[in-house]
């Protein structure tokens, strides 16, 4: 029993949902995997929860090279991993990251929209989406707007959503084939939040070779390090260039110490991991 009184709504249309959500104290739920934990800890005290899972259009998924991938808010992580091979094929770094969220049971309920809406600095699905230039379609009673994912977060647990506004879908442009890696360090291999997460994506590895990098758990929000990307663009990946790249990534972090790790460790890993990923991808060899 959750030590809190609140009401429960399950609208079947978006209009109805947005109507209820426009009222003060109402919060949306999808997989409820983060929300129930927060309710139980009384970190959230809503008047009511609005379950969006009965709204058909939020379950849609589509992919085309022209339009990219559009993930409806209610699509679960395991649906993306198991039912839509386009995800693994076209967005491998994103695929790797969502496989590392929680446990199998969690991923049967958890959604990417929920992971984004929860706005934890440790959200594993976010760094890869940042490297793929993802956008969010937000809707409210007042209308809709599309925003860049990189402009969405404002602090730990904080974002630009207004009362009554929800994430309707996630739009991930397709910019060509990509390779890369999501490297998650955590205290235990099974279910744990990231001590640090690094997404390194290489768009068009055999052509223009555009290297992108974003990190979780090293700043108040997940971050993408454009400065490091600008530095490495077009350069031959010599040990010196890669080292400088990693130093720029590190310089852009501002980690803290918490139960999962110290700021010193995270800061060090923000330098080690970008190099390690490039090495493991076979993009450069360290001269010893």
């Amino acid at each position: 029993m959750i030590p809190l009184d609140f009401s429960y709504f399950r609208p079947t249309t978006l209009e109805e949902a947005l109507d209820i959500l426009s009222e003060e104290g109402m919060i949306p739920i999808l997989g409820s995997t983060d929300v129930v934990v927060k309710l139980r800890a009384r970190r959230l005290k809503p008047k009511g929860v609005v379950d969006l899972k009965a709204i058909e259009e939020l379950h849609s998924f589509s992919f085309s090279k022209e339009e990219g991938m559009v993930i409806g808010a209610a699509v679960t992580m395991n649906e993306l991993i198991e039912d839509h091979p386009e995800v693994k094929e076209n967005y491998p770094v994103f695929y790797q990251a969502i496989k590392k969220v929680g446990a199998y049971q969690t991923r049967n309920r958890a959604t990417v929209a929920g992971n984004i809406g929860n706005s934890s600095p440790a959200a594993d699905s976010v760094p890869p989406l940042l490297t793929y230039n993802a956008k969010l379609k937000l809707v409210s009673k007042e209308g809709e707007r599309t925003v860049e994912l990189k402009d969405f977060f404002t602090g730990p647990g904080k974002n630009i959503l207004k009362q009554g506004e929800i994430i309707h879908s996630i739009i991930v442009p397709y910019e060509g084939p990509s390779i890369g890696m999501y490297y998650k360090l955590s205290r235990i291999k099974a279910v744990d939040l990231s001590t640090i997460g690094v997404a390194l994506t290489v768009i068009d590895p055999d052509g223009k070779r555009d290297i992108r990098i974003a990190l979780a758990s090293v700043a108040p929000t997940p971050i993408r390090v454009f400065e490091a990307e600008d530095f490495i663009r077009g350069k031959e990946l010599t040990p010196e260039v890669v080292d400088e790249f990693a130093k720029i990534v590190q310089k852009n972090t501002s980690p803290i110490t918490d139960t999962r790790g110290t700021k010193e460790y995270r800061y060090e890993m923000a330098y080690v991991l970008p190099k390690k990923i490039l090495r493991e991808l076979g993009l450069y060899e360290e001269v010893s």
């Binding site: 029993m1 959750i2 030590p3 809190l4 009184d5 609140f6 009401s7 429960y8 399950r10 739920i29 997989g31 409820s32 995997t33 129930v36 934990v37 309710l39 139980r40 929860v49 379950d51 899972k53 395991n78 198991e82 929680g102 446990a103 199998y104 049971q105 969690t106 049967n108 309920r109 291999k189 099974a190 279910v191």
Partner: protein
């Protein structure tokens, strides 16, 4: 509010409150006590049930969300007093000691073998990574899952 769901093949109507979890309802209202409350935060997997064909943590589902769901708990594994091959395999391999986590492991295993009748060791470990056991050290559990797969007709 009154919700309807199917549990272990039986259709039921239950009066629930929004601040109750599915696990609360199963244990405290329906006295289906196979699913256990360990952490209450989705980290230990002791409350795992199969929900519309998929393993989930019943402690993270608000009771009203379960309206219309089809749920299988460990109580539903046994048919006519006969243990399920997964249960037999767990006994034969001594895959439990205190038994608190076992119903959760059995349900995760059932769901795994349904989607993948012949899993590799790695696939077993991944599928069970949301279930904690503090007694066995997991090796006997992994052996039991392999044995259950054999019993259920997978070619090895």
């Amino acid at each position: 509010m009154v919700i309807k769901f199917t549990i272990n093949g039986d259709e039921m109507e239950v009066d629930v409150k929004p601040n109750e979890t599915l696990l609360d309802v199963l244990r405290n209202k329906l006295f289906i006590t196979g699913p256990k409350e360990g952490c209450g935060n989705g980290e230990c997997g002791a409350c795992t049930v199969i929900y519309n064909g998929k393993p989930v943590n019943s402690c993270l589902i608000l009771a009203p969300e379960a309206d219309g769901a089809e749920i299988l708990t460990v109580e539903g594994l046994t048919k006519d007093g006969k243990l399920h091959p997964i249960q037999e395999a767990f006994i034969e391999e001594n895959a439990f000691q205190c038994g608190f986590c076992t119903p959760g492991f059995l349900m995760s295993t059932k769901a795994l073998l349904e989607r993948n009748p012949n899993p590799s060791r790695e696939e077993i470990v991944e599928a069970l990574s949301g279930n904690l056991c503090r007694c066995t050290g997991y090796d006997t559990i992994i052996r039991a899952v392999k044995k259950a797969a054999e019993k259920m007709g997978a070619r090895s």
